[in-house]
Symmetry: C2
Subunit: 157 residues, 2 copies
C-alpha cells in the first residue's frame, strides 16, 4: 500500500501530557537504502517486518508493506541487521481527527524528537498541536534508516 | 532457523527424467549483501519473503527465515527489488532419503544448473545421483543474490 505521511520537529515536551499510548521501540535495518528499506522492529512486545520504497518527489507518499512476526523471530532478525540499532519511545497523541506519533529517540540519537501524522490524501488538512514545529517531510537525514547510519549526535560534527 | 545445505553443479539433464515436481521461480533481492540477503520470490503461484544471514566458514550452514506472503504483495515487493531479477525452473528430484532441488537458470544466467540438498546436520551422508558434479557449497558467486548482480553469462568476460 501507499502511505501518506508528514513529519515535523517538536518544540516542547507537552506531547507527553497529552499522550494516551507510550511504547518502547527497538529497530534495525536489513537494508537501509532509501529506495528499498527493510526494517525489523520490536514495538512493546510485538515484532514487525516492514519494507518501504522510495518517497515521492515531495516526500509525502511512500510504498509501505508491513507484516507482524513473532517476537522471537524479530529478535533473531534484529541480530542480522546492519550496525546502528535505533532505540526510541513512541507516544501516540490524538489531536482533532488525527493521531500524531511522536518519536523520542535515545542512544546515539538522543535529543531528536519527531512527530508524524498519517493522512488519507496529500491535501488533507489537520489540526496542529502547539508543540508541532518545522516540517521535515521527505528530508532523508530524518529517515530512521539514515539515523542508524548517521545518528543525530553526529550531525554537528 | 539454521539451514544446512550443500550445493553442486550438474553434469547432465537426466534430472529432468527423474523429477516429480517442476516449478517456475522468479525472484529479486531487496538486499543482496551476503551478510543479510532479503529475497522476494514467486514460486509457481505463491509468494515468499526470505531473509538469509552470513554463511558459516565452510559455507554449509546459514540462518534462514522465510514467510509465505500473498502473491499480489510479492508482485509489489518484486517491483521494489534491485535490478537483476532471476528467472529459473526448479525440479525436485528424490534420491534415496533426500530431495535434490535442481535449479535451471534462464535469462542472463542461462546455461547454469545447480543442485542443492538440505541436510539435518553437517556430517549427514546422502546418496549422489549420477548427474551430480563438482561441489560449490559456500562459493559466493553461485549465491542467487550474486547471480542477480553478476550473472553467469558474464563470468567469462
Amino acid at each position: 500500500m501507499i502511505e501518506i505521511e508528514r513529519k515535523f520537529l517538536v518544540t516542547s515536551e507537552d506531547y507527553k501530557k497529552e499522550a494516551n499510548v507510550k511504547k518502547r521501540i527497538v529497530q534495525g535495518f536489513l537494508n537501509s537504502h532509501p529506495n528499498r528499506t527493510v526494517r525489523v522492529r520490536i514495538k512493546a512486545d510485538k515484532g514487525f517486518l516492514t519494507v518501504k520504497g522510495k518517497s515521492s518527489a515531495n516526500g509525502t507518499m511512500r510504498f509501505e508493506w508491513e507484516r507482524e512476526i513473532p517476537l522471537s523471530e524479530a529478535e533473531s532478525l534484529l541480530r542480522l541487521c546492519e550496525e546502528g540499532v535505533i532505540s526510541k519511545v513512541r507516544y501516540e497523541v490524538v489531536c482533532g481527527a488525527h493521531t500524531f506519533e511522536v518519536d523520542e529517540f535515545h542512544g546515539e540519537n538522543e535529543g531528536l524528537i519527531v512527530a508524524e501524522v498519517e493522512l488519507k490524501n496529500e491535501d488533507e488538512s489537520f489540526e496542529r498541536p502547539d508543540w508541532l514545529g518545522e516540517e521535515v517531510t521527505g528530508q532523508i537525514k530524518y529517515y530512521n534508516s539514515q539515523l542508524s547510519k548517521k545518528p543525530f549526535n553526529e550531525w554537528n560534527e
